[in-house]
Symmetry: C2
Subunit: 407 residues, 2 copies
Amino acid sequence: MTLSVNQDRLWQALLDMAAVGATLEGGSNRPALSAADAEARALLLSWCEPLGLKMERDGIGNLFLRRAGQAQRPAVAFGSHLDTVPTGGRFDGAFGVLAGLEALRTLHDAGVATAAPLELVVWTNEEGSRFPPAMMGSRVHAGDLPLDRALTTTDDAGETVGEALAETFQIGFLTPGPRDWAAWIEPHIEQGPVLEQAGAAVGIVTGTVEARYFHLTVTGEASHAGATAMAGRRDSLAAAAEMILATEQIGLSSEPGGRSSAAWIGNAPNVRGAVPSLTRLHCDMRHEDPARVDVMEAAARIAWTAIAARRGVQLEVDAYASFGPVQFDPGLGALLREAAAARQLPVRDMVAAAGHDSVLIAPLCPSAMLFVPSRGGVTHHPTEYTAPEHLAGGAQVLLDAVMRLAN
Amino acid sequence: MTLSVNQDRLWQALLDMAAVGATLEGGSNRPALSAADAEARALLLSWCEPLGLKMERDGIGNLFLRRAGQAQRPAVAFGSHLDTVPTGGRFDGAFGVLAGLEALRTLHDAGVATAAPLELVVWTNEEGSRFPPAMMGSRVHAGDLPLDRALTTTDDAGETVGEALAETFQIGFLTPGPRDWAAWIEPHIEQGPVLEQAGAAVGIVTGTVEARYFHLTVTGEASHAGATAMAGRRDSLAAAAEMILATEQIGLSSEPGGRSSAAWIGNAPNVRGAVPSLTRLHCDMRHEDPARVDVMEAAARIAWTAIAARRGVQLEVDAYASFGPVQFDPGLGALLREAAAARQLPVRDMVAAAGHDSVLIAPLCPSAMLFVPSRGGVTHHPTEYTAPEHLAGGAQVLLDAVMRLAN
C-alpha cells in the first residue's frame, strides 16, 4: 500500500508557520524560547489536535507528539526544530517538523495504522543563536550537556534558558533522556548548493563534518582614543580584528572541505572616544576530515596567540562546544535511498557541513538525515527557498520510509 | 591681595563626586543624562547652595551658576563637565568643575567680591559615549549643532536625548546660545604623559588638534556559517576587521602627531552560526597639523573603499562630526602662564589631542585651557590619577587668573 502526501497542504503549513515571527524581508525571526518560538509550537499543537497524538515535553522543552501503534514496539521518530536565527528563512527547521506533520496527516486521513508507534519531535534551541550552544535540546536529551548547565545559560540580555522556558510555558515534566526509538529520521533543507547543482531532488546524508566552537576573550587596556599615542595602546578590538582575519584565512586555506568564521563580537566599553579594552569573539571551524580540524584548530591557536603576544593583550580561548564527525546509519540510508528511487526522485549521497540535532541522536539509535534542495544554497536568510515539489518529495520519502520501518 | 585654595577640600570634593556612579574598579561611570549624571549635578548644586549663586539651565541641560559681580560687566566663566565614559576615572571633567567650585568657595570664605560676575559652567554630554557627538552641550550652545537634532539623537537602546533630559529633570528654560562672557577658562587633567615627563605642574593649552569622526556601515550577505563555502561569502565582519586594521595603520604611520582608532562596533545578526551581514564602525582620526588630517582621511577612504570592493560588500561612510584645529587666546594663555609662574609652578605650553568643550567656546569669547599632570598619561580608565597638590595648583592658577580678569 502506498499513500501520497499532499503537496499543497504541506506548502500552506510552511507559509502559515513562516507567518509566526515573520520579518519585513520575507523571512522568519523566532529565536529559541521567544514568544514567537512558543507561538510556533502552539500553532503546531493546534494542527496536531485532530490527529489524536499524545503530547509530552521534557525539562528542556523538547516536544514529543506520539501516534499510537498497534504493537508494543519501539517508536519510529522524526522531526527537527522550529526556532530560527534572527535573519532566518521559512524552511530551515520548520520543513523537518512539518514534513513529519504531513506524514502523520496523510496516515490519519487514510485511516492507516502502523505496528510501531510514530513520534514527531520538536527539539528546543537548535540554532543556539540566542543561547549557546547550538543543538541545546538534543544535547541535553543525549546527555551531552547537563540539564542544569543548559538551564542557567544566559542570552546577551542576561536572561537564562530556565527563565525563558518558564515565561513561554515550555517546561515539561519528563526528565530529558533517550526514548524507546527504533529509528530517527530528520528531513531538512540542504543549506548548500550541492543538490541543486547536481539536479538531485533528495540528498541522503551519510554523515557530518566535524565542527568546533571557540570563545575568545581579548583583554587590553582602556585609554583615551585622542590622547593616547598609537604606540602606547593595547587595543583589544584591533587585536580581535586580526584574529577575525586569521580565522577567516584558516578556512580559506582549508577549502574545499574546510569552513571557519567569526560570527559574533562583543566589545567594551564600545564607546566613541575610548580605546577598546575587552573584546570577545565566537569562532567556529569545520572540516569533513577530522584530522584536518585538528590542524585548523592548531593553526588558529598559534595565530591567535601570536597576535595577542605581539600586541601585549591577554587572550583566553575556551573551546566551548563541538560536534561530529558523525556517520549516520548505513541501513537507514539505504532504506531512504530505495524509497526515493521508488518514487523516481533523483538522489545523491552527501556530507552535512552544518550542525543538526541528528548529530546528537546518532549514537542513541539508528539515525539518518534527508535533505531537499535549497535554491542557490542560500540559508539563514529571508530568501531561503525550496520549491513545493521538492518539499513534497522529501515528505513523501519520509512517509514511505516510516511506513516501511513501522510495519 | 592673594587668596589660597584649600587643597584638602578640593580633594575631598573630588572623592565625594567620584562616589557618584562609582565602579568596583575604583573609577566612575556617569554616562550623560543617566541617573548618576543627574545625581552628580544635584551634589554640585548642594555644594553651591551656601555660596548664593544664581542657577540657570538651557534647553540642552547646560548648567550655569553665577556669582554676582559689583559692576555691570561681562562675566568670567569657567568649568567643564561631570559626565564620564563607562570606564571613566575620577578626574576627567570633574576636576574642571570642582576647581571652579573651589575658586568660588575660597572667594566666598574670604568674603571677597569681584567687579565682574563669575560663572561656573557644567556642559552636558561632553563625552558623547552614550549619545554622539562628543561635546554635545557646548556644540548646541555655540550653534554648531541644532538643538532639535541634538534632542532627537538616540543612544544604543533607542532612548533620545530629549527623553533622557526629561527623565533626569535637566531641561532648562534658556534658549541655548552664547552668553555675556569676557573670558572662558577650562581646567582639565592632561589625559597624556607630557606634563609628567616634563616635570611640569601646569600646562597652558595653546590649541587643539583637528579631529574627524566617521560612521562606517558595511553591508554583506547573511548565510550559514557552516554550510556556505568560504569563497561564496560576503562577510561584513571580516570586511570591517580589515577596515579596523587599516584605520589603525593610518594612525601608526602618522605618528607622532597623528592618532586614529575604531572604538565602537555593531554587528548583525551577531549570532553563532550566521555569517555577519551588517557591521557598523565608528572611527576617528586626529593630527596637530590639519593638512595631515586631510591626508589621513583620504588614505582611510581609499583603504576602506578598496577593502569593500575586493570583498564585494557595500560601504557607506558618514563623516558625522569633527572639531578643531583651534587656537586658544594668546593673551589669556599669557595671563595663565604668569599666574602659574607667580606661584612658582613649573609650566609648559602644549597642544590638546582630545576634544574639549573649550573647542566650541573659543570662537565665542577669549578662551583658554589649563592642564594638570595625569599619572602615566592614563585617562578614561579607573586608575586615572592626579596628585592632590597638582589639582590644587591648577585650581590656584584658575582662581588667581579669574581674580585678575574680574577686577
